[in-house]
């Protein structure tokens, strides 16, 4: 599974990344998490509100920090 956390580096983006990593650790799902802070790349993914989470190319949330419950649901746990 390929997970991208998008954000230019504001506190909310760090929070989103932390929650994604926590959810992965908790569920034991193996995934590749990358942080995207390049605006061009964000636009290419179709995201214009940060923080955002993209899983396997699909935008799961944009403009807000997801809850751990959300993330667990997205990764199928």
């Amino acid at each position: 599974m390929d997970i991208k956390v998008l954000g230019p580096g504001c506190p909310k983006c760090h929070e989103a990344e932390k929650i994604v990593r926590e959810a992965l650790a908790e569920s034991g799902v193996a995934a590749n998490v990358t942080k995207v802070s390049d605006f061009q790349e964000m636009a290419a993914l179709g995201v214009f509100a940060t923080p955002a989470v993209v899983i396997d190319g699909q935008v799961k949330v944009s403009g807000k920090v997801p809850t751990k419950k959300d993330v667990l649901a997205w990764i199928g746990k």
């Binding site: 580096g9 504001c10 909310k12 802070s37 605006f39 214009f48 403009g63 997801p66």
Partner: protein, 370 residues
């Protein structure tokens, strides 16, 4: 805009973003009955009002009876000012941010963008400035938002109206102005802030500066026809209000306290009329100087308004002080750095130039008519 690290990312420490995380609606097994919530909310509101009403008396009691300071002394004046204004402003802020958090749950950035995409220039500029007040906006998110608006077909000038209005006219600024300076100043600030946002966006639109957007941004086309809003229940919206209070009040309170402390110092120790000669009505040059000093400075409204109030009290003219405040919150050097990623220097210069001129005119206008 925020102070920026060398790699161009806004510093985390003081990002008082307007973006609010809206909690997802998940079915909860045991939700409190609605009437319980209503009773709790009503009680909280009454308690809020009673405390708010008693603040003035309490601050005097604390200052002069409990702390034993002399009435009319410098220190007594400062301490009373601080003890009265700090809880007052924080209480107002909590109540309004909660309300705005609920209103804001109706306006997602996606929805705002869809509203603006089909509009003609003039109507679009007015709508964009108004939506700037209620749409969740974080200056960290300004660049992706800018790209998203343009990509969805929102005209450049309309996008700028939004980008100028969103950080300048917001609930934190309006509440602080209302709480510290009264509703007239709050209304003047809001009105002129909107006019500056609308007019600057119109001018930028007329200048046809699309070629000064970075090429890769201009090529982006987004399809927004398939977007769907997540429907929120009322419980969800109330939760959004509560999380707005946590996010926003949690972030700006240190600024408010420091700002009021500085203001309290000025209030107690600076002689009356001290600033009249340098920041008064008759010093026409004080408005451009105030704007120029404000450009490189960054603070949010929460930190700057208590200082503004104290300056006014000591003889500074309202126009000069409002111009200074608008310049501090609406344009800043860190913002220019981050906008450089999507705009060519010429457009950034035009943007800053037009907004500065707008602020300058507002400052002079107020000094002339008030």
């Amino acid at each position: 805009m925020k102070p920026i690290n060398l790699d161009g990312t806004p510093k985390a420490a003081n990002c008082a973003c307007k973006a609010v995380s809206v909690p997802e609606q998940v079915s909860q097994p045991r939700r409190p009955l609605p009437w319980l919530r209503i009773v709790l909310g009503g009680t909280a509101l009454v308690a809020w009002w009673l405390v708010y009403d008693a603040l003035s008396g309490l601050s005097r009691l604390l200052t002069y009876d409990v702390l034993g300071l002399t009435q009319g002394s410098h220190l007594g004046g400062s301490v009373e000012f601080f003890l009265y204004d700090t809880p007052k402003v924080l209480m107002l802020l909590t109540l309004i941010v909660f309300g705005v958090g609920i209103i804001r749950s109706f306006f997602t950035p996606e929805r705002t963008r869809r509203i603006l995409a089909g509009k003609s220039e003039a109507v679009g500029n007015v709508l964009a400035a108004l939506l700037g007040i209620v749409t969740p906006f974080c200056s960290c998110s300004a660049v992706p938002l800018f790209i998203g608006f343009l990509g969805a077909g929102v005209p450049l000038g309309v996008t700028f109206s939004f980008l100028i209005s969103a950080p300048m006219v917001n609930e934190v600024a309006v509440v602080l102005l209302y709480g510290l300076l009264g509703w007239k100043v709050a209304a003047l600030y809001t009105g002129t802030g909107l006019v500056i946002a609308i007019a600057s966006g119109l001018v930028i639109g007329k200048l046809n500066m699309e070629e000064y957007i970075e090429d890769w941004v201009r090529e982006i086309r987004l399809d927004t026809s398939t977007e769907q809003d997540v429907a929120l229940t009322w419980a969800g919206r109330i939760n959004a209000g509560l999380s707005a209070v946590r996010d926003i009040v949690g972030k700006v309170w240190p600024w408010v306290v420091v700002g009021i402390a500085v203001g309290a110092g000025i209030h107690g120790y600076m002689p009356e009329g001290f600033l009249a000669s340098i920041m008064g009505k008759d010093a026409w040059w004080s408005v451009p100087v105030a704007v120029l000093i404000g450009i490189p400075l960054y603070s949010n409204a929460a930190g700057i308004i208590p200082v503004v109030q104290a300056l006014l009290e000591k003889g500074a003219a309202l126009g000069t002080v409002l111009a200074f405040m608008m310049s501090v919150v609406a344009i800043s050097t860190p913002e220019a750095v981050i906008l450089r990623k999507v705009l060519k220097p010429r457009l950034i210069a035009v943007f800053f130039g037009i907004v500065s001129v707008g602020i300058l005119l507002v400052g002079w206008l107020f000094n002339a008519i008030l």
